[in-house]
Symmetry: C3
Subunit: 157 residues, 3 copies
C-alpha cells in the first residue's frame, strides 16, 4: 500500500470514529479498535509526567464494550451529545503495519436543552493497524489540554 | 477522473464555499450550486424526524439569488461576519457523476464591535455534481446541533 | 514534484507549525521560516485597508529569534498555552518554487489554572518555499477576525 493510500485510510478512520460518537452509535465504537488495544483519556500534565492512567482507561476491546454497557444501563447523567471538529492529521511514521498519527480536536457539547459549549480541546495520539482493512486503532491516547473536565466526562472522546 | 482527484476537488469546493461566505462575497454564493439544487439549514432533531423544511430553505439557484438580494436590500440586522472551521471531509460515495460527502463544522460569529462567539456547530451533508468543472452542490444540507439559533440566522452557513 | 506531493508537504508544514507552538517549543518556531521572511499578525480591517504593520511583525528570521528570546527572558505574562485547530487548507497557486495557501484556524487558550477559552479566530495567508526540503514559510500573514486581542497576544499564532 502506498503512502497516499495509508494517509487516506487514516484520515477516513479518524473521521468515521468521530461520526460514530457524534451520532450516538456508541455500540459501534469498540469496533474501531483491535482486540488488544489501549485507549486512554488523560490530561496533558499527566501525559507529560509519564503516567499511564487517566480519566477513562481501557486495555482491551472488551473493556470498551463494558464501558458502553455501563454507559447505556448504569450511569446516570443528563442527556447530551458531542460534535467533534478534528483538524489536519499528521502521519508521522509508517512501519511494520502500524501508522502513527496525531490530530488536534475540539469537542462541542450539546445539552438536551440545546445549550452548546466548548467542552474539550486536545489532541489524539494514535497508533493504527494498517495491515488489514478496515484500519483499526491499536492505541488512541486522548490528551486533554485542561484538567477541569473529569466529572463531566461520560461519553468517550 | 480518479478517486483522488475527486476528493481533492470536493475538498476545494467546500473550502471555497466557506471562504465566499466568510469574505462576505455573498453574490457569488449561488454559483456554488447547480440550477436545480436543494439547500436547507435545519436542526438535527428535524432532520432525524425526516422533515424537509427548515430554518432556511431553497429548491433552486434562483431562490438562493433571491435570498442574497433580500439579505442585501431588505433585511435589517446588526452587521456581522462568520469564520468557518471545517473539519475533515469524508467522501462516502462516488457514483453517476455525483459524490456524497459530509464534514463537521464550527462557525464563529464576529459582530461589528469585535465581539466573537461560538455561533453554530453542525455538519454538512453534501451531494456534489462532479461531472463538470467546477464541481457544484446538487444538495447541501446544513444540520445544526442546536435549535437555539433560528432568529439570529441571516447569513447562510 | 507533482501537485499532490506539494499539497501534502504544505499540509504537513502547517500542521507541524501548530504543533511546535502548542507544544511550547518556541525555540524551533523560527526554523519554519526562510531567512528573509515576512511574518505578521494583524486584524482583518487593517489587512483589507492595505496596512503592512500589525500586532506582531517580523521581516526576517532574526527578528523571529529575537521575539522568542524576549518572550522567554523579558516579557512578564501569566503562563498559558494554545491549541490550534486548523481547517482545510486551500492551495491556490504553485509557481516559481512558491506555493500560496490559506487556511482558517481557531485557537483555544489554556491558562495555567486550566481555564479554557476561545482566544483567536482567523486565517493564515501563506507563501511557502517549496524549492527545498523541508518546505518553509516565505510569508505567513495571520489575519485575525477581531481587533480585541492586542494586549493579550504574547505567544505567536
Amino acid at each position: 500500500m502506498d503512502e497516499q493510500a495509508v494517509r487516506l485510510g487514516v484520515h477516513d478512520l479518524i473521521a468515521a470514529y468521530s461520526d460514530c460518537i457524534d451520532d450516538d452509535r456508541l455500540e459501534e465504537w469498540p469496533d474501531f479498535f483491535v482486540d488488544k488495544c489501549h485507549y486512554l483519556i488523560t490530561s496533558r500534565e499527566s501525559h507529560e509526567a509519564g503516567y499511564r492512567h487517566g480519566i477513562i482507561y481501557a486495555a482491551s476491546r472488551g473493556m470498551l464494550l463494558d464501558r458502553v454497557t455501563s454507559l447505556r444501563r448504569v450511569l446516570m447523567y443528563e442527556k447530551h451529545r458531542y460534535r467533534h471538529i478534528v483538524g489536519q492529521t499528521r502521519v508521522s511514521k509508517i512501519a511494520d503495519g502500524v501508522a502513527e498519527a496525531h490530530s488536534n480536536f475540539i469537542t462541542v457539547r450539546i445539552m438536551h436543552d440545546g445549550e452548546t459549549n466548548l467542552f474539550a480541546v486536545g489532541r489524539y495520539l494514535d497508533r493504527i493497524d494498517i495491515s488489514t482493512t478496515p484500519f483499526r486503532f491499536v492505541e488512541r491516547l486522548v490528551i486533554l489540554d485542561s484538567q477541569k473536565i473529569d466529572t463531566l466526562l461520560v461519553i468517550p472522546l
